[in-house]
């Protein structure tokens, strides 16, 4: 019994780490712009597929490929903000949401044309046997993701709390007008937030590719789960994103183990609804979000 419970927990941690690293991208963008990017999952997909091209097909060393992929996807994010988000004349949140939905379809189309329809396998970063703990097994790649997520959360927290740019970015989210009056270049901050969030998406894509494989349509489901995790933890809170991811992942795994695998999504979303009813801004969320 203990052994199974532990194995379910490990399964939950693996999925939870995946959701958390994606949720981080949602929260980072929301933090600075009050915007949800429904194409975030597609930036994750771009990260995974670009890794396949640079690392496996062109044979670049992994660290170099990693950096190049993150830069490339961040650049794509900058282009997206410049071309599609800033050009809107009277930005209404719902209009921006539909633009990001359009972008997600667009990027999926690009992914299909460039990389084809078949899933591609990505080898794990370290060729280690799965780790055995009390009869349950854990993938080394899950630990990689877990470690990276922790580092990212700490680094981002320091960035927001300690650096001027980070503080300026938070200020933009709280009140754009006031921030602008204080001499903060709000447009530049938005641009940076997009680059940061999409770059984080690329990191997520790179980290999870060995587990999920890379396909052009992987983004929609992962984006959705990441969005849920960000919501669950509280939008804009980095630790919330982390917590939300793990709560969602573990709830799903326990749902499979003790209820029914067919109902696992329903269980996860039911939990989400209950948490939202009790805490309408997520577990660690503080500020209320904007209305449409």
């Amino acid at each position: 019994m203990m052994q199974e419970l532990l194995q379910y927990l490990f399964a939950g941690i693996t999925n939870g780490a995946i959701y958390a690293v994606i949720a981080l991208g949602f929260s980072t963008l929301y933090n600075a712009t009050d915007l949800i990017n429904f194409a975030q999952g597609e930036f994750v997909m771009l990260g995974a597929l670009l890794l396949v091209t640079l690392w496996l097909q062109l044979g670049l060393p992994l660290p170099l490929a990693f950096v190049l992929v993150v830069l490339a996807v961040g650049l794509a994010g900058i282009l997206f903000e410049r071309l599609a988000i800033r050009t809107v004349r009277k930005p209404d949140p719902i209009v921006l949401v539909i633009i990001t939905v359009g972008a997600s379809i667009f990027l999926r189309g690009v992914g299909m044309v460039v990389w084809g329809r078949d899933p591609m396998a990505v080898p794990p970063f370290s060729e280690l046997e799965s780790i055995e703990i009390a009869g349950a097994y854990l993938l080394p790649q899950s630990l990689w993701i877990f470690g990276i997520v922790m580092i990212l959360v700490v680094a981002l927290t320091l960035f927001y709390k300690r650096t001027l740019t980070g503080k300026a970015m938070s200020a933009c989210a709280i009140n754009k007008r006031a921030a602008s009056l204080l001499g903060i270049g709000t447009e530049r901050m938005t641009l940076m937030a997009f680059a940061l969030a999409t770059g984080l998406g690329a990191v997520a894509g790179i980290m999870i590719a060995p587990i999920t494989m890379a396909t052009y349509d992987m983004g929609s489901m992962l984006g959705l789960k990441g969005f849920c995790a960000a919501m669950l933890g509280g939008l804009g809170s980095l630790w919330g994103a982390l917590l939300g991811g793990f709560v969602l992942g573990i709830a799903e795994a326990m749902g499979v183990g003790f209820v029914s695998s067919g109902l696992k999504d329903a269980i996860a979303f039911l939990l989400l609804l209950l948490i939202l009813y009790i805490r309408p801004t997520g577990i660690l969320g503080v500020k209320s979000s904007h209305r449409f």
Binding site: E4, Q7, Y8, F10, A11, G12, T14, N15, I18, M112, R117, D118, P119, M120, A121, P123, S130, Y137, L139, I208, I211, T212, M213, T215, D217, M218, S220, M221, L222, E252, A253, V256, G257, S261, G262, K264, D265
Partner: protein, 385 residues
Amino acid sequence: MKAGKLKVLAALVVGVAMAGLIFTPSAFAQDTYKIGGIFAVSGGASFLGDPEKKSMQMAVDQINAKGGIDGRMLEAVIYDTKGDPTETVQFANKLINKDNVLAIVGPSTTPTTMPVIPQCVRAQLPLISCAAGNGIVNPIQPYVFKTAQSDIMAVATIYTYMQKQGIKKVALLCVDNGFGTSGAVQLREQAGKFGLTVVSDESYGGKDTDMTAQLTKARKAAPDALVCWGTNPGPAVVAKNAKQLKIEFPLFMSHGVASPKFIDIAGDASEGIMLPTGAVLVADTLPQDHHQKAALDAYINDFKAAYGSGVSGFGGYAYDAIKILEIALKGTNGDKAMLRDNIEKVQGYVGVTGTFNFSPTEHNGLGEDSFLMVRIENGTWKVME
């Protein structure tokens, strides 16, 4: 009265814009035989739809290169359903009522085939589906045929093998879409007949990234073997997770992963996995006197020459459908009822998927030869006896 005026204007603009987009001229030319194709070329089932579309186009081009049928050329009109039932219905409508096709090949999946059936029956137009679901041709509907193997046969093939191996307890792990559930139904129903008991019955989502929880649950039930019913990439994840959990019992999969891509993405984890497949995957290892050898070699070589990529087990469904239509279209002069009657008379057509013998009571027509058991060894398929 400005608001009122604006309203009328809005209505007018809406009306004009709508009319412009909706009414496009219909096609009239009828000097060719038009065949419709609706496949899930993009979306979750694109691994089916994409090779099906290519194979259909290739078969049509080949027939035309040989001078068409009774001196008339074939014309393929192919639409992408994206696996969405509503879009499939709309495209079927377009094929039937606007493009005026003689017959429809596809759709690729069972949930998209079912809504098209009433339309084809109403229009009295032959439909040759490429989907696995047994419900398509059972009960028999006069205008509905299919060329893909039914899951009944796939399950029977696996279970026959298991019975020979002395396996008594099976665990099931099926994807939660149409393919997986109709497979699961067959796996449950037929188990008793082969002396098997289902000890664990789980499912997973098509885009799930980790199935260790399901596998752990299955392992608890101590089965002799596990059958995973799904299509890429899910089963590859299952294979990887099983290896990671150091699961001892053998893994069986469905014909849904019967493509080289599976070995590609599952890597080492695919070693030792057994599955039923059409002969197309192992064509190069078949003896020269095998009855399907010539048909398979032709298909595989032509496909490689046309598209530069290897074949999967799925494109053959659409290829066979066109070849069957070629036989049935002869002498009909484009009469749909006669075409339907002729399809029922097709006998002994040796195709990519197997040998087809249609009759008024058999609208799938595939015989026992449509499946054989293979095992993955050293990164390639090996036929088992």
